[in-house]
């Protein structure tokens, strides 16, 4: 294959990575932005989403699309409910103290991971893609499902943006983010907003995971990479900035895809980590973040 088509293939692979990464990182960014909680267990919510997707899809019979669509709806709901319980039982009791919640979410990471190992096992299991249509370019065929992942993720990101900037729910979330005390003085139930945001963050990770399981298999250790990459994306883009998160996810996803294809995946990781270091040195608030007031 000549250089042009090769680059196109690498770009498409990079965009799929970007799409899934943007959703996952957005969840992390929302939770930190509104609650000031660094959720180390975020990757485990991603893993849970994938594992549950396998379980739900294996229960369904008939066309693979039925099982997949069922998983796409039910799995994030279950993960959201688990996150809600974790928020009420753990984070709220710590009064959302920034240091204490880091330690607590590390604990949550191990508990969720070990539960998955106990009940799901150490095997990697695939979920069948809802359709197997291949788009034929003149040079190579490409999975139609992968392209639909990019489109679905873009729609979901737009929907999140719309909710945050154009609806009352978004207004309440932003008010809580900017000034918790004043928000309460205007009737905003801050505790409930926190619970909702934490559940929503986990659900975004779970949706991303359901989208990826037909491409990558579900495994109990699969949460580590998305967590690391989400942190990288969120640091580069600026915590709490939706636009920054999306731009950084595309940047990291594309560079990962292209550099992995032409050079090596290790070099891609080295470069991503280097960008993080540079951003932290020269622009600690991130590309699109605003400096602390």
């Amino acid at each position: 294959m000549s250089f042009g088509p090769h680059l196109l293939l690498a770009t498409l692979e990079g965009l799929v990575t970007s799409a899934v990464l943007a959703l996952t990182a957005l969840g992390l960014s929302l939770v930190f932005g509104v609650m000031r909680v660094v959720n180390v267990a975020h990757g485990e919510f991603f893993m849970l989403g994938a594992v549950l997707a396998w379980w739900i899809a294996s229960l369904a019979t008939g066309h693979p699309a039925i099982g997949f669509l069922l998983a796409l709806v039910v799995s994030p709901l279950i993960v959201g409910a688990i996150a809600l319980v974790a928020e009420r039982l753990v984070l709220r009791r710590l009064d959302y103290n920034p240091e204490a919640t880091i330690v607590a979410t590390i604990g949550m990471l191990y508990i969720i991971q070990q539960l998955a190992l106990t009940f799901y096992g150490p095997e990697a299991r695939p979920v069948e893609a809802p359709f197997s249509y291949r788009i034929l370019f003149p040079w190579f065929g490409y999975s139609g499902y992968k392209l639909s992942v990019i489109a679905f993720s873009a729609i979901l990101l737009l929907a999140t943006w719309f909710v945050l900037t154009r609806t009352r729910i978004g207004l309440v979330m932003r008010a809580t983010q900017y000034d918790r005390e004043t928000a309460q003085a205007f009737g905003i139930p801050v505790g409930r907003v926190y619970a909702g945001v934490f559940a929503m963050g986990a659900m975004l990770a779970a949706i991303a995971a359901v989208l990826i399981v037909p491409i990558q298999q579900a495994h109990y250790l699969m949460g580590l990479d998305p967590l690391l990459l989400s942190f990288i994306v969120v640091i580069i883009g600026g915590l709490g900035s939706l636009r920054g998160t999306v731009v950084a996810a595309v940047l990291i996803g594309l560079s990962d895809g292209i550099i992995s294809v032409f050079f090596s995946p290790t070099l891609a990781k080295i470069i991503a980590t280097m960008i993080v270091a540079m951003v932290l040195v020269f622009r600690p608030q991130g590309l699109f973040g605003t400096a602390a007031r």
Partner: protein, 235 residues
């Protein structure tokens, strides 16, 4: 005269430090009551305690027939108390319109309330799409008051609304307080300087070490400057 808000025996703590010691306060319907006192006397804490932002360890805060200390912080404004915090505390990243919208949402008020509030501060109408953090100090204070008035409150709490403003703005704020009194809003006004309140207040409570030492009418105060010397004078 009937009471709008009655505080009795209020104890408040920041951690282990007691800030309010059995504070008593009585706000009559339709009056402007001013809290005067030195830095750290407990004026702001009193307002925060009313809003439920600082928990009361004992004592009661009664509005109508409800004890506010029993309510969650976010239910206090719904009961009809609006708060203009010290330093304005606008949602600075949001537009003027969004700040007003948050005020309206508190008690589900509609466009009618919005119009009447904007009529009180016509200047804000031209700035609706502007980020509130970019307004001037006086405009920010107006927005903070407008946001609070969107609740159509029975009781309004104002914490040093004239702090750091130029004289023409101070006059404008005072004018607004007087206008609200005509409409029957009961107001608690926290100030540091006595000359800022004599023209608008009905009565003055002197707060010292977390206690209400004395409440007097402004006429008494005008006649006897010694009062002010005793509680807020320096040296």
């Amino acid at each position: 005269m009937t009471s709008a808000l009655t505080i009795s025996g209020l104890d408040c703590f920041y951690g282990e430090v007691q800030v309010l010691h059995g504070l008593d306060l009585d706000l009559r319907k339709g009056e402007v009551l001013c809290l005067l006192g030195r830095n750290g006397a407990g004026k702001t804490t009193t307002l925060k305690a009313i809003m439920g932002l600082v928990p009361a360890r004992s004592g009661s805060i009664v509005l109508g027939d409800r004890d506010l200390t029993k309510l969650a912080a976010h239910d206090v404004p719904k009961a009809g108390i609006a708060y203009v915090p010290q330093g304005r505390r606008l949602f600075a990243e949001m537009t003027v319109a969004e700040n007003i919208e948050i005020g309206l949402m508190t008690r589900n008020k509609g466009s009618q309330t919005r119009e009447s509030v904007l009529a009180l501060f016509p200047l804000l109408r031209d700035r609706l799409r502007q980020r509130s953090g970019t307004l001037s100090g006086g405009e920010q204070q107006m927005l903070a008051m407008a946001r609070a008035l969107c609740l159509e409150p029975e009781v309004l709490l104002l914490d040093e609304p004239t702090e750091g403003l130029m004289p023409s703005m101070i006059a404008k704020i005072r004018e607004t307080v007087a206008k609200l009194r005509e409409r029957g809003v009961s107001t608690i006004l926290v100030e540091q300087r006595v000359d800022a309140v004599l023209s608008v207040a009905d009565r003055v409570s002197f707060i010292e070490n977390g206690r209400n030492r004395e409440t007097v009418g402004v006429e008494t105060l005008r006649g006897d400057p010694a009062f002010v010397q005793r509680y807020v004078g320096v040296g």
